[in-house]
């Protein structure tokens, strides 16, 4: 089995914060073979180590931080790592993928995965370097915001260290606190920062010292160059490198699908268009080994904004001033809050206020869309759990306090507010994708946007392996579309490469299974055929679902916000579109059959046993 993964290192450090101990071991090659790395290996460990029903903010929860199989190898856009745990926001799988520079540095420190258990008695930081982990006193850093924490890390551990950390929001266990690295890279979704805060880990700093042995350095470099040149020739890579993700705002706005004022409207101002944003940008910069350079260093504060920020803190809150949106973006980043949930929860409260469902006796002041100063105050109060902010900090758990117990006006699925600013009433595959995504309302598990590109039939057949209905508003064959995208995204998240250079996310022409297979061969002499990688994807998706099943998730949970079913979209091309409940259920049934789950969305026990068999393959930990 070692031959099959070549010299791919998969070293883990298991840290028990309660006992103050660190244990090192290698992941068994048989398990690496089946789950690869990053998101895949993370969920394999989470499923194995975490029993059902554990309180996500208790010491019993397990926080797993793992680099992708190709992370740090220097191949294009290989910067990424995943943080995986039980989410305190959704109470199901919490899994957040993040770029920047920490992932490679984690590997260069001689460690590929951290498993953090227990709870420290006082604030600590973990220092990784030379293949070892030290647990250090972090009381001096507690209370610092994200930027100040990382500045302190550079001061105390040297300017070439890379760190991840929580801000004030993570310290006080805001359920949508994120983990940050740099001034804007975030393992954003699902409250990863709250779990880190619950363990009293302020930061994890990596200093390197080991590196990553590459089996065929010249071969890998030649392939990297070839892929880089191919990517640089792509029009989508070029435009992403010029203006970044804000270009998607105009697409959604044109369609009449940009979530506006808590999805009560679906079109908004043009002052958030990419070209307008770009007037506020001084330089486009990148994550580690990136050939796209989609990150904006802006003239005001920090980096960004991304499409998600423009949507969720802009249109969704009724704020159209470009500079104000950029400043809100930097504020939530510094405090360590997830942009998507912050926007989703604030807009929920604003609509409830607008409808008279809550009033100033709870909120302390009137809540109105478009009020920038109010939003700044609310964000600060959430991040410190002060006043009404303490209610909002509970995210979807605040439903009863907010007098909306059924979460009728919350744009969320499985307790996780929707991240993509795109209203899913128009593109039906998008709706199915977020309804079934393994971490709640999430577009990054399956984002099926190739459909709107009007691609030729034969190309669609090549992508999906069969004929699909290319009308984005049709319900037919969308289960095939979602499953196809889900599979390759699961592999992308497990090799640690950015989706922006991969097949399916924005273009049908970028990196595919074949490329990952070649890269793994050159980097580690690891032998993964296309079919092997597809089998890895299948395992990851099934095991994530099995984890959800174990936490009680069934068919009724695979649904959409009330508004998506009941209210037609009000604007643009998409005007009049909504989701038909009966057709949605039929689409869901077809999706379950394709995935070979039962009619209630449960993975058969036989399959679950098969997924766990690798641990007992003679080399089990």
């Amino acid at each position: 089995m070692q031959d099959a993964i070549g010299n791919m290192r998969s070293r883990l450090a298991e840290i028990d914060l309660t006992a103050g101990t660190v244990h090192y071991e290698d992941t068994p090659p048989a398990v690496v073979r089946e789950f690869l790395g990053g998101r895949g290996l993370n969920v394999a460990y989470l499923h194995r180590l975490l029993p059902a029903g554990v309180d996500a903010l208790s010491p019993e929860n397990v926080l797993i931080i793992g680099a992708g199989a190709l992370t740090g190898t220097g191949c294009p856009n290989s910067s990424r790592f995943n943080i995986t745990t039980k989410s305190p926001e959704s109470n199901i799988l919490g899994d957040a993928n993040c770029g920047g520079f920490f992932g490679p540095k984690l590997r260069y420190s001689g460690i590929d995965r951290l498993i953090i258990r227990g709870r420290a008695r006082q604030p600590v930081l973990l220092r990784l370097g030379d293949g070892r982990v030290e647990i250090l006193d972090a009381r001096a850093y507690w209370g610092l915001d994200v930027n100040d924490t990382q500045a302190a890390m550079r001061r105390d551990f040297g300017p070439t260290c890379e760190s991840i950390c929580i801000g004030p929001a993570g310290e006080v266990l805001v359920r949508f606190a994120c983990v940050m690295t740099g001034v804007k890279n975030a393992a954003a979704r699902g409250g990863m920062g709250a779990v880190m805060g619950s363990k009293r880990v302020k930061a994890i700093v990596a200093t390197g010292g080991v590196g990553l042995e590459i089996a065929d350095p010249d071969g890998l470099l030649a392939l990297n160059e070839q892929i880089k040149d191919y990517l640089l020739d792509s029009s989508i890579v070029k435009v992403l490198g010029r203006v970044g993700t804000p270009l998607l705002y105009e697409v959604s706005n044109h369609l009449g699908t940009i979530r506006t004022r808590n999805s009560q409207d679906s079109s908004f101002v043009s002052t958030l268009d990419a070209e307008v944003i770009h007037e506020h940008v001084t330089k486009m910069i990148s994550c580690h080994s990136c050939v796209v350079h989609c990150r904006h260093r802006n003239i005001h504060q920090g980096e960004g904004p991304e499409y998600t920020t423009i949507g969720l803190l802009g249109a969704n809150l009724g704020i159209g001033d470009t500079e104000e949106v950029i400043r809100l973006n930097d504020l939530v980043n510094r405090l360590g809050l997830d942009v998507s949930s912050t926007g989703g929860i604030l807009s929920w409260a604003m609509e409830l206020y607008q409808r008279g469902i809550i009033d100033a006796s709870l909120t302390g002041e009137p809540l109105q869309f478009g009020d920038y100063e109010l939003v700044v105050r609310l964000i600060h109060s959430v991040a410190r759990r002060e006043g009404f902010g303490d209610v909002l900090a509970e995210s979807s758990h605040a439903a009863a306090r907010l007098n909306d117990p059924e979460r009728k006006y919350l744009i969320a699925i499985k307790g996780l507010p929707q991240s993509d600013p795109h209203d899913c009433r128009y593109i039906k595959a998008f709706a199915l994708g977020i309804a079934t995504a393994s971490r709640g309302a999430d577009h990054l598990r399956s984002r099926p946007t190739l459909e709107v590109f009007n691609l030729p039939k034969d190309l669609l057949r090549e992508i999906y392996g069969t004929d699909i209905d290319d009308d984005p508003t049709s319900y037919n064959t969308k289960e095939i579309v979602v499953a196809t995208h889900e599979s390759i995204y699961a592999v992308i998240d497990s090799v640690g490469i950015c989706k922006f250079i991969c097949h399916g996310f924005n273009s049908p022409k970028l990196l595919k299974y074949e490329h990952f297979s070649q890269l793994l061969e050159r980097a580690f002499r690891a032998s993964f055929s296309v079919a092997d990688l597809q089998a890895v994807a299948h395992r990851i998706i099934d095991l994530e679902r099995a984890f959800l099943n174990r936490e009680g998730i069934r068919r009724p949970d695979d649904t959409l916000p009330w508004r998506y079913f009941e209210e037609p979209l009000p604007n643009g091309v998409a005007k009049g579109h909504r989701i038909d409940r009966a057709k949605f259920q039929e689409m869901l049934s077809r999706y379950y059959r394709l995935r070979r789950w039962d009619a209630d969305g449960v993975v058969p026990q036989e399959r679950v046993r098969e997924l766990l068999a690798a641990w007992d393959d003679g080399s089990g930990a």
Binding site: G72, G211, P217, H288, H293
Partner: protein
């Protein structure tokens, strides 16, 4: 004499150059082992590359007390004899451009060899923005643009 030139204005800070350099010279992916380094601070909002500028009268060679450094008059590159280098970091301290890498792990200095055995320098081939280029030293007009 060919030479690696860098343009910080085009540098996106990705460090692909450093990793490529480390792969060519050590077979290890680790940006810390690159003879070309990207100095970056996202908080202070800058990134720029450092790499040997092939001084005609190099301070590093003059300062080396172990006789580990020499300038090759033909190619202009600075040759590090790793068997002789004792890791005293005098070269690191005197280099006016911060272009000598002090590898604590190796206990040796790392200086760009211009990839003299390769058709193209690894860092140049890896760069996706054109921020690193190789040119004949006498023929640099236009590179800065």
């Amino acid at each position: 004499m060919r030479k690696v030139y860098t343009n910080p204005a085009l540098c996106s800070g990705c460090r692909a150059c450093s990793v490529a350099c480390a792969l060519v010279h050590f077979g290890i992916a680790d940006d810390a082992l690159g003879a070309i380094q990207v100095v970056r601070d996202p908080l202070q909002r800058y990134e720029y590359q450092t790499v040997c500028r092939m001084c005609e009268d190099p301070e590093c060679v003059a300062a080396c007390m172990a006789a580990a450094l020499a300038r090759d008059p033909e190619t202009g590159r600075i040759i590090v004899d790793r068997d002789r280098c004792i890791g005293c970091w005098m070269c690191v301290m005197v280099c006016p451009y911060g272009a000598v890498v002090a590898s604590e792990r190796l206990g040796k200095a790392i200086i760009c060899d211009q990839c003299f055995e390769r058709e193209q320098a690894a860092c140049v081939a890896a760069c996706s923005t054109g921020a690193i280029q190789m040119a004949e030293a006498e023929d640099t007009a236009g590179i800065a643009e």
